[in-house]
């Protein structure tokens, strides 16, 4: 649990950095993300080489924003099993040969497995980059601007705020349980209801206190907290360049272009 709390805290620190990407308008970042995600997942199932071009977005972003590689690796490890599951099933069920490298046959299934894993890793990386350069408060301000319902945005903000608090409470509960239950492993089923139920009652009490604090500070008299950030020319350029490149990489297989060039040279 401490790991999760630390994880949020680390992301907060990184997201409050100062780089070109950090300063970019959150709306522009969301548009770039949408374009990148949709072009990346739209590739044919067996496309392995073409998506490689998208690595350039990732490497440039990491470099510009000083994003620690460890952060990305942790997130990629979480996402890997699901992608691998889909990929491995393709490996098993699609044994049609695609081409040979010497004596080794590369099947369509192998290609689609590799493609799936590559694209999964790309998609996760885009989100890691977004969250590493955008504090949640700026994202939620942008959500308000695009008219996402206020209740949803506020629930999102406050849930995020209280995750650490509740995790701390749960950590305390389970630690004291384990010390007195003399167990190194999880909570026994018959006690899980009590612990989780007790945690919920504490949650309800806390929510009541938070509600009182909000009332004392005038809650109910206004809609969301507006956060101004002007759209600059650089934001427009960034969106244009990223979108155009993403679409270009989708249409033109860049490795194939290099392959032809290499053919010519050789």
């Amino acid at each position: 649990m401490q790991e999760k709390i630390r994880s949020i805290a680390t992301l907060e620190d990184i997201a409050n950095g100062d780089s070109a990407l950090h300063r970019m308008h959150p709306g522009a970042k969301l548009i770039c993300l949408a374009v990148l995600l949709s072009t990346t997942i739209s590739f044919p199932r067996t496309s392995v080489s073409a998506p490689l071009a998208y690595l350039s977005f990732i490497s440039v972003s990491f470099a510009l924003a000083d994003i620690p590689l460890a952060l990305a690796c942790k997130r990629l490890i979480v996402a890997l099993p699901f992608a691998a599951f889909g990929g491995i099933s393709n490996l098993i069920f699609d044994r049609a040969p695609s081409f040979w490298i010497g004596r080794i046959v590369i099947t369509n299934g192998a290609l689609s497995c590799a493609s799936l894993i590559l694209r999964a890793l790309l998609c996760v990386s885009y989100v890691v980059i977004l969250m590493a350069v955008t504090p949640l408060s700026r994202l939620t301000a942008q959500l308000r601007r695009i008219r996402v319902p206020e209740i949803f945005v506020r629930v999102l903000e406050m849930t995020y705020r209280y995750i650490g608090v509740l995790l701390d409470e749960a950590a305390g509960l389970t630690a004291s349980y384990r010390l007195r239950a003399l167990t190194a492993r999880g909570v026994r089923l018959e006690h899980a209801g009590i612990l989780i139920g007790g945690l919920f009652l504490r949650t309800a009490d806390r929510a009541e206190r938070v509600h009182r604090a909000m009332l004392c500070r005038g809650e109910g008299s206004r809609a969301g907290l507006p956060l101004r950030q002007c759209v600059r020319r650089s934001d427009v350029w960034a969106v244009a360049i990223v979108s155009a490149s993403a679409i270009l990489f989708r249409i033109i297989n860049i490795p194939e272009v290099f392959a032809h060039l290499a053919d010519r040279v050789m």
Partner: protein, 232 residues
């Protein structure tokens, strides 16, 4: 000025949480509301800002009587600093929390931001503005919670166990900050040395009823009285 007359607050089960309490806090004065755990201090404070209904009695803050029609006005005049700062810091960043009240008062975003920063600077904690409350120490949360209330410019300040969760150094810092504040203050606490450092007068509560009312020096040095209140 805060004037409380014969107020009674009832628990859901019917028992009296506050029983016929009356007192007055003059403009600019600092008064301690002392009592052991369960004496009714928190309940009393919640009732003063209309968060709990009054069974009997009245509350007047700067000539405005507390009623369901004057809740907004009362809450502009009286600021309540909660015991657990995690309960009152509910926004993603400290600055957002401190701006929350001013925005609700009708200030524009730049005005609210300016007022929030002024308040943080006055408490010497402007460095906390962009930080998440999740990462703050107990003392820092306490100051951020105080700033969130002060940004509404209340003329009367209620504080509920302000030294809870604080180490000695943070207690001293908080005491210094409170002494400098010009607001009328009512401080609920069982930390008598803290109360004596800030307040001239004290009100003693026991089982929801007023036991004594007078100068801190006189009350706190009365051993028998302190014993009867389960205070030391």
């Amino acid at each position: 000025m805060l004037e409380v007359r014969e107020i009674t607050v009832i628990y859901p089960g019917g028992a009296k949480a506050v029983d016929g309490v009356s007192f007055r806090v003059n403009d600019g004065a600092s008064v301690a509301l002392a009592g052991s755990n369960g004496a009714g201090k928190t309940t009393l404070l919640l009732a003063l800002v209309g968060l709990l209904p009054l069974k009997a009695g009245s509350v007047r803050a700067n000539d405005v009587e507390l009623s369901r029609f004057t809740l907004a006005q009362i809450r502009r005049t009286i600021g309540l600093v909660f015991q657990n700062p995690d309960d009152s810091l509910f926004m993603p960043r400290v600055l957002d929390d401190v701006m929350f009240g001013p925005v609700n008062l009708g200030l524009s975003e730049p005005q609210a931001r300016e007022r929030a920063m002024e308040t943080l600077v006055s408490l010497g904690v402007e460095r906390l503005a962009e930080r998440s409350p999740l990462r703050l120490s107990g003392g820092e949360k306490r100051m951020a919670g105080l700033a969130a209330v002060l940004a509404m410019r209340p003329s009367i300040l209620l504080l509920d166990e302000p030294t809870a969760f604080l180490d000695p150094k943070s207690r001293r810092r908080l005491a210094d900050a409170l002494i400098r504040l010009p607001q009328t203050k009512l401080i609920a606490t069982h930390d008598l040395s803290f109360a004596a450092a800030i307040c001239n007068d004290a009100i003693l509560l026991k089982n929801g009823a007023l036991l004594a009312n007078g100068a801190c020096s006189a009350l706190f040095s009365d051993a028998a009285l302190m014993e009867s209140c389960d205070l030391e």
